[in-house]
Symmetry: C2
């Protein structure tokens, strides 16, 4: 990996900072979580489940979207292990499964409220 060829203004500062940046892998993980929360529908799902678990069609009502649209988004959040689900007969209940994401959400909630 060619870190700094010859075009850089302040090679020393650049080198210093590059040392502090996490590995590509970790940057990717961070970006993935932020991306999951960057869609208003998905964010609303997570905010709803912050209160209590809900089934798919209730989440659809809360988010004012079709069951199908919600199901697609739930799959994304489940794949990222942000949500988990449990079946009770025909109904599937979703709830939060990542304490860290909960903290992130609460912190950003505090911000927009103050």
């Amino acid at each position: 990996m060619d870190i700094c060829g010859e075009k850089c203004i302040n090679e020393k500062k650049v080198m210093e900072t590059i040392k502090t940046i996490p590995r590509q892998e970790n940057v990717g993980q961070m970006a993935e979580i932020f991306k999951a929360l960057s869609d208003p529908t998905r964010l609303k799902i997570v905010l709803a489940l912050l209160n209590q678990e809900h089934c798919v069609c209730d989440i659809a009502v809360i988010c004012n979207q079709t069951d199908s649209a919600i199901s697609h988004q739930l799959r994304i959040l489940r794949t990222l292990k942000i949500l988990k689900n449990r079946r009770e007969g025909k109904i599937i209940y979703y709830s939060l499964d990542d304490d860290h994401v909960v903290s992130l959400i609460k912190m950003s909630l505090d911000h927009v409220r103050h």
Copy 2:
């Protein structure tokens, strides 16, 4: 706004949760910040500036992208007031301008590292 028509499984739970969800406006603001941090290039810019201020072309080297690509992303982050800049002759230095975003980033950094 028709909150709950007749198709909802558990009207009481739905009503309870709807009360806890922030206003659309605030959900939108939260999503906007998460979206800003959801692109690996933009996230890397913010991570770099967590260390110290940098000029555009140094950021380009750090992120391994063209000056132009970085400039486009800097505009997005500046518009959201996540970054500020100062001019020193021909060179424009960018730095962080939102303590809350810094906290969010640090919290998510802690997470991927542990």
